[in-house]
Symmetry: C2
Subunit: 412 residues, 2 copies
């Protein structure tokens, strides 16, 4: 079995050095890693072939997530180059002042230290996460899934060689090999004091088990039961456009809509056309009794309201008021993203104030909750918790702060 | 046994309303609560007498922490008035921009929701914490110690009456009565989804058990094994002044120094005078062999280096270099506050960069790590963890953020 503690101790030692790297040193390493990936394309694809061969029994969707092609390798390299172009969060002065007694106070961004990422199939996360953690001055422990073991081992070996050649500590990037029964994850979760934060990325089960069992602080990501609410004062054309986009543009991602709530006052004018359009788009509607009056639907169940389908299914309900929509969202939602479609300023204001989610959209698709769309350039995930980071997490979210106080012999 | 879950459910319902309060409403309630406390001084002191009578066997130090006098009641009321004068963190726009596609993006401060504070003897925390949580728009569950049960019950009853009269939700402030074997704390720690954060304030044992067992996110506070390092280039008069102040001005608090490290190059010129001055101030020095050469000391043990004495004891050691001092601090420190005394800009810069603590002081006493000293006006504790908040936590640290995105029918 992997000695996870030994890996973490090496990561902690490396983190003390990565924290001191200048932006120039980090960017040079990221560019070198990008070139090294492209140069090793053949080796990487071959390693990936081994994973695909072992995963012959997987569904085509899973195999597609797992697959690396030369163009996907190039895309990963370009991701590292984009990171190099982003500003360095480390050293940013968040607050500062001179206190009445003359002490100079600064609150400065510093790296978190050792970041553990626990993720499922996609091997591109290996490269993205390594790059984001390095750019923010952290050492990273990458715990990918066993289904991508060969790809991940190859990618990490290429990245480490390039990083070391560029002068970075060898253990700034390390792979934690997946072992039977997630024993290695259990060990990671006990390394409080060595690992500064764990970020699970994957299915709801993985995230729940990490959140509940870890003594290392966790940032919860990604479960998205997102809602679109069509207000009584909605522009119904915009409402249909947004509902269709939120559900169908990419159903497998966390910012896709899973529930559509329609104000009773517009149900008759909105639902017949909306149900037809959703059906045309291949969406299976799970509707309540009021919705069923306007078209063929699968009867909705209590479980449907809670569901993150990640498929072309959509729960649809009629509500009597905006406040009822908000109550529904508070009860069943996952706190990711909710959208209101309305022309009423008062309705928009109340929805924004009373919905308790990471992102609230007014007349825009839920699909916009994304680090790239927000202009953050890089994203390690979307936090659905309230502490530390909420919503898309970019580079600053992978930092902490330190107070620096300078005096000339000051005592209290 | 207290039904902690029921209290938390009521708190969550109240939190939805406190989140929407305007600054004017919150400040009016805080001022009304302050007046109510002063008007109830006699009642409060009587309730406190009952705690003191039950606690006849406690040490005089503990009894003093527990004691409420009319002037201490006034001081608590003044604390609430000071909170009313502080800016409201809720609604602050942390970041904002118009995206290339015309979407308007704002990241806005919002309350955390339900905050649970678990604390020991001092009943003034009841009033401070209630005020800070209300001002930041949160509902609060106050879990004080059983030794202050009568005082806390009386204080909370007075605060609730005044808050309700001022139009606040009744359950914005609730007391969780301490039960045998901390069963109520165990229940609190399981209420993930109802309670948004737990902040334990008290001894290292309490904090460790909450950190390890809670599924509710925790902010770790207050264990301070703070170091003063006297560099080879130090102004030795300033070094002695700072060491004495850091150790003796208030030994029982978390920002007091517990270890003094002296560079070997100045040991001979600094230590004889320093040891004499520390002895004069009543400090027991636990010194290593190099220190023992300059005066009478208790031999230091491995445990001493880890100790948060909170008393007039001080571990003192000689180190060969600044980097050795930093290694010592990284190994034994608690990540609270460390100070360097030096006239060398290079030494200050390296110490600040390589010490991994919430606060780093240059030529200033460790005692300055404090919300009041930093100008934050109010403090709920000092975080020694890296996620969410690090260092003194004021009002902004009791908030989260929400992204608000406004479009006119935008789809992706």
């Amino acid at each position: 079995m992997t000695d996870v503690r030994a890996l973490a101790e090496r990561a902690k030692a490396a983190a003390a050095d990565t924290a001191l790297l200048s932006r120039a040193e980090k960017d040079a390493a990221l560019l070198a890693m990008a070139s090294a990936l492209e140069a090793a394309t053949e080796e990487i694809v071959r390693a990936n072939d081994a994973d695909l061969a072992r995963g012959a029994a997987l569904s085509e969707a899973l195999r597609d997530r797992l697959r690396l092609t030369p163009s996907r390798v190039s895309a990963m390299a370009d991701g590292l180059r984009a990171l190099a172009a982003l500003p360095d969060p480390v050293g940013e002065v968040v607050r500062g002042s001179t206190l009445p007694n003359g002490l100079e106070l600064r609150q400065v961004r510093v790296p978190l230290g050792v970041v553990g990422i626990i993720y499922e199939a996609r091997p591109n996360v290996t490269v993205d996460a390594a790059g984001i953690c390095l750019k923010s001055g952290n050492a990273v422990l990458l715990r990918g899934s066993s289904s991508a073991a060969s790809s991940n081992a190859c990618l990490v070996s290429v990245l480490r060689r390039a990083a070391v050649a560029a002068g970075l500590p060898e253990d700034a990037v390390q792979l934690v090999a997946a072992t039977e029964g997630r024993e290695d994850v259990k060990e990671l979760m006990r390394l409080r004091g060595l690992v500064d934060v764990l970020i699970p990325r994957g299915g709801a089960d993985l995230i729940r088990s990490v959140v509940e069992e870890s003594t290392v602080p966790v940032i919860e990501t990604g479960v998205g039961n997102c809602h679109v609410y069509v207000d009584s004062a909605a522009d119904l054309d915009a409402a249909l456009r947004i509902a269709l986009n939120a559900k169908t543009s990419r159903p497998s991602v966390c910012n896709a809509a899973e529930t559509l709530l329609v104000h009773a006052a517009v149900a008759e004018s909105f639902l017949p056309g909306a149900l037809a359009a959703l059906a045309d788009a291949g969406v299976t509607v799970h509707g309540d009794a009021a919705v069923a009056a306007y078209g063929d639907v699968v009867p909705v169940t209590e479980d449907d309201w809670y569901a993150e389908y990640l498929s072309l299914d959509l729960a649809v309900g009629v509500v009597d008021s905006l406040d009822d929509a908000v109550r529904h969202i508070r009860r069943y939602g996952s706190g990711h993203t909710e959208a209101i479609v309305t022309t009423s300023q008062a309705a928009a204001r109340r929805f924004v104030a009373t919905v308790d989610s990471a992102a609230v959209m007014v007349n825009a698709s839920t699909r916009f909750t994304d680090g790239g769309e927000f202009g953050y350039g890089a994203e390690i995930g979307i936090s659905t918790q309230k502490l530390h980071a909420r919503g898309p997490m970019g580079l600053p979210e992978l930092t902490s702060t330190k107070y620096v106080v300078v005096g000339d012999g000051h005592i209290r």
